[in-house]
């Protein structure tokens, strides 16, 4: 081993890409932060830059109906992120990670999901 490790490090173009967008939904300024990975993506949704929870979901060949998912951390009783991850996994066929921290509102969540669906339709290259 020669002492200097840094000589072997070469910078290349990153494959991970990020897509940010914002929208005002029912008076709440909601930001969306999408991290695109290989065959999967992580979407963080919220009104403030916090990541309180995370859920994952993916399609399996055994359950064509709904995607399998699980909450990873945060409040396990809060199923908003999990439901959203399952819907997105079903829609995109990818492994989806969701961190959703919007204030609970029955009317707001479907609109947030619709906003994400619209963005997937209009900018599929970011997901």
């Amino acid at each position: 081993m020669e002492g200097n490790d840094e000589t072997n490090v070469e910078s290349i173009h990153p494959l991970i890409s990020v897509h940010n967008f914002e929208d005002n939904i029912l008076g709440n300024q909601i930001y969306f932060h999408v991290i695109k990975l290989s065959e999967s993506f992580h979407i963080c949704v919220g009104t403030a830059a916090v990541m309180k929870n995370m859920a994952v979901a993916m399609q399996t060949k055994y359950n064509k109906g709904s995607a399998s998912g699980n909450a990873l951390f945060g409040d396990a009783g809060d199923t908003v992120s999990l439901n959203m991850a399952q819907k997105l996994a079903q829609k995109t066929g990818k492994q989806v990670f969701v961190s959703c921290s919007v204030p609970y509102d029955q009317n707001l969540i479907p609109l947030v999901e619709k906003r994400i669906s619209d963005e997937i339709k209009s900018h599929p290259q970011h997901f």
Binding site: E10, H13, P14, I16, H33, L37, C44, M51, L72
Partner: protein, 144 residues
């Protein structure tokens, strides 16, 4: 290190990503800064892999006063001692003030493969946090 970096100032979540090639092994590094935690992805498969939460804590000791320690908890994936060691080593090099959520998926977990990544991870996190000066990495950090 002048890797292409895309970061947005408009979004409340600032982020940066770099990719480095260490001995022919491609590694993608991403960092998102949340107010409650740092989210760092270090991947050689372009996937999340193992998710580890590293929390900075302090141990109060009568003899030595307060000692900062890092505790690692594997949220999902490979819960092996080596994963704890590598994630705490990476988190320690970032000197975090808030919890670090680290997504690790490495093909090669040898010391020779992991240590050269630390400067790249540090500069990526520094860029995401807005300090665009890639701080020179002291030899001490690399050797310890």
């Amino acid at each position: 290190m002048a890797a292409p970096v895309s970061s947005t100032s408009k979004s409340p979540v600032s982020s940066a990503q770099v990719a480095v090639n260490v001995k022919g092994q491609r590694t993608d590094i991403h960092c998102s800064v949340f107010t409650d935690q740092l989210y760092v992805i270090v991947t050689q498969f372009c996937k999340l892999g193992t998710l580890v939460q590293v929390k900075p804590e302090t141990v109060v000791d009568d003899m030595e006063g307060t000692t900062p320690v890092l505790t690692a908890k594997v949220l999902f994936g490979n819960d092996e001692p080596l994963v704890h060691v590598i994630s705490r080593r990476i988190a320690a090099s970032l000197k975090p003030s808030k919890p670090v959520l680290l997504a690790l998926s490495l093909k090669d977990t040898s010391r020779e493969a992991v240590f050269p990544l630390l400067p790249a991870i540090q500069s990526c996190v520094a860029r995401a946090q807005g300090g665009n000066s890639a701080q020179p990495i002291s030899e001490e950090v690399l050797v310890r």
